[in-house]
Amino acid sequence: MANKSRKDEMLRVAQYPLDWLEERSGLIGGLKYFLFRKVPRDSGWWHTLGSATLTAFLVQLGTGVILAMYYKPNPNDAYESVQHITNDVTLGWLVRGMHKWGASVFIILLFFHMARVFLFGAYKYPRELNWIVGVLLVPIALLEGFSGYLLPYDQTAYWATVVGININGTAPILGPFLASFLRSGSEIGGDTLSRFYSLHMLLLPGAILGLIGLHLYLVVRLGVSSPPWSEEAAGRDRDEAPATPGSGLVNPSARGVSRRPD
C-alpha cells in the first residue's frame, strides 16, 4: 500500500513539468491532438508517402543549413568551396551527398504522393483545397531543384542554368523580362549566383514551409481519407455511428469542430 502511493508520488513528480507546460501553453494537448488522430482502419503503406516526402524535405532543410556554413556564394569561390566541402571537411562528402541525392528523393516522393492522392481520389470533397495547396508546392519544389543546380558552379551547373534561364526567356511577352530577373541583368554574373543562393535557401524554403503548414492543417482538420476499396466511410470518426458499407463520406462538415481531444 505504502509502496503504491510512493509510486504514485513519483509519477506525479514526473508528470508535473508536463502539466506545468500544458496549463500554460496547451502544447501537450495540441501535440496529442496532432499525433493521436483517428485514421481509417484499412489505410496502409500508400498513406505514408506524404510523411515520407515531408521527411525528405526536412533532411534537405537540415543538410542545407549545414552546407550553408561552408559554402561561399560568389563566382570566384563557389566551385572551390564545394570541392572543399566534398574533399576536406569532415563528413562533408556525406552531407553534400545527402543534400544532392536527397533532392531527387524529395521530388520523386512528391510525385509518388501526388499520384497516390490522385489515384485514390483523395482530392475529392472536402479535400479539394489541400490538393490545390499540394499543386502549388510542386513548382516551388522544382524551382528549388533549378536554383540549387547552379550552386556547385561547375560547367554543368553553369550551362544548365544558361539553358534553363533561356527557356524561360522564350515565353511570350514577359519571357525576356523573367529571364532578365532570374539572370539579375542581361548577362549571367556574380549577382546571378547570389540571387539563386538567396532564392534557394531563403525564399523558396520559406514558401514551402508555409504551404506545408497549411497542407498539414488541412490534413488534421479533414482527416485521412480511406482507400477506394474501403468498406468504411472516408475519414470516419471511431465514435461516430458505423456507416453502412459503401455509403461514402458521412457528414464531413461537422468533423473539424467535433474533433477536439477530450
Binding site: 519571357g175 525576356p176 539579375s184
Partner: protein
C-alpha cells in the same frame, strides 16, 4: 493535469528574493572562470544554496497540496469585508448597460478596425515597395557597355577566322569572359570589314563550337588594358555547331540545321589606332551573301530562342534593357 478551475484566481507564487541570490551565484561562477577558482567555488556554493531555497519555496505550495485551499476563500471574504458589500455587476442596478446584441457594431469599433487595417496596409506598403524595387529594379537598368580591345589588326589575317576570348567587364572578373569568332574580310569600299560572330547559340545560349581544325600552334596571348585576350586561328570549314541540342550554322552565322530560330548574334566593331575593338551585340535574322559584301538583317539584341522576324516576333514585342 493540474486543475483548471483556478484560472481566474491569482495563481502567482509570492515574490521571492531567492532567484536574485541564485543569479548572483551564477554570475560569480562565470566571472570566477576568468578571475580565480576561489570565486568559482564561492559562486557555486551561493548558487547551490539559493537554488535549493528557491526550489523549496516554489514547491512548497505543491507539497502542501493535500490541504484544501481555504486561504483563497478567506482572502475573498476579507475583500468583501473591506468594501462592505459585494460588487454590483455592470449589467445590474440603475446604471446598468444593456448587453450588446450579438453582431451589433459601434462607430468606434468600426473606426478602430478600419484604422488598424488601413495603417497596417500603409506600413506594409512603405516597407514592401522599396524592397521589391531593390529586388527587381537593378535588373532592368541600362548597363554601361565597355568597348573591348582585341589588340592590333595584324593579329587577324584576312579571310581567317580567329577564336577570340576576352573579358567583357574586367572589373567583374572571369565570370564575364566571352568568346567571339572574328574574321577579317579585308576592305570594303575603302573601309575595313570584319565578321564577328558571338559564340552564344541562339537556340538556348550554349557555346557554339567551330566545325574544323584549330591552329593551336599559332595561338596568340594578346595583352590589353582589360586583361589578356586569347586568339586561336581556326578553319571552320563546316561552319559552327552547338553541342547541346545540335544547332548548326554556316560561316556567316546563318542557321543550317537544328532548333535555332535565327542567325548567330554579331558584335559591332571599331578600328582605332590600328586596333580592333568590340562594341555592342546585336541580333541577326539572316545574312545574304558572304564576307565583306554580306547583307546583314540586323535587329536589337534579343535573347536566345526569340524570333526577331517573321510572324513569331509578335510574341516578343518588348525587350528588357541590356
Amino acid at each position: 493535469m493540474e486543475p483548471h478551475e483556478g484560472q481566474d484566481k491569482p495563481h502567482l507564487p509570492p515574490p521571492s528574493l531567492w532567484p536574485v541570490g541564485f543569479a548572483i551565484g551564477v554570475v560569480c561562477i562565470l566571472v570566477g572562470l576568468i578571475v580565480s577558482w576561489f570565486a568559482v567555488a564561492v559562486g557555486a556554493a551561493v548558487t547551490l544554496v539559493f537554488g535549493f531555497l528557491w526550489v523549496r519555496d516554489v514547491t512548497g505550495d505543491y507539497r502542501r497540496r493535500e490541504i484544501p485551499a481555504a486561504t483563497v476563500d478567506a482572502q475573498g471574504g476579507a475583500e468583501s469585508a473591506t468594501t462592505g458589500a459585494p460588487a454590483i455587476p455592470a449589467s445590474e442596478g440603475e446604471a446598468a448597460m444593456p448587453p450588446p446584441e450579438p453582431g451589433e457594431r459601434f462607430d468606434r469599433n468600426m473606426f478602430l478596425e478600419g484604422a488598424t487595417l488601413g495603417l497596417g496596409s500603409v506600413i506594409a506598403g512603405i516597407v514592401t515597395v522599396p524592397i521589391l524595387g531593390f529586388a527587381i529594379g537593378p535588373v532592368f537598368e541600362h548597363k554601361h557597355h565597355h568597348e573591348v580591345d582585341l589588340g592590333p589588326i595584324e593579329n587577324f589575317k584576312e579571310g581567317q577566322f580567329v577564336i577570340s576570348t576576352f573579358m567583357l567587364d574586367p572589373s567583374e572578373g572571369e565570370i564575364t569572359r566571352r568568346t567571339a569568332f572574328v574574321r577579317n574580310n579585308g576592305f570594303f569600299k575603302g573601309k575595313p570589314s570584319f565578321t564577328i560572330l558571338s559564340n552564344r547559340c541562339v537556340h538556348l545560349g550554349c557555346p557554339v563550337q567551330p566545325n574544323g581544325p584549330l591552329f593551336e600552334n599559332r595561338k596568340v596571348q594578346q595583352p590589353t588594358k582589360a586583361g589578356d585576350v586569347t586568339l586561336i586561328p581556326v578553319l571552320p570549314a563546316g561552319g559552327f555547331g552547338c553541342p547541346c541540342h545540335g544547332g548548326q550554322y554556316d560561316q556567316e552565322g546563318n542557321r543550317t540545321a537544328g532548333p535555332p530560330v535565327r542567325a548567330l548574334d554579331r558584335y559591332e566593331f571599331y578600328i582605332r589606332n590600328g586596333r580592333v575593338s568590340l562594341g555592342k551585340t546585336y541580333s541577326v535574322a539572316d545574312v545574304t551573301g558572304a564576307g565583306a559584301s554580306a547583307q546583314i538583317h540586323k535587329y536589337k539584341l534579343a535573347g536566345p530562342g526569340q524570333h526577331v522576324d517573321g510572324p513569331e516576333q509578335i510574341f516578343y514585342p518588348l525587350q528588357p534593357p541590356s
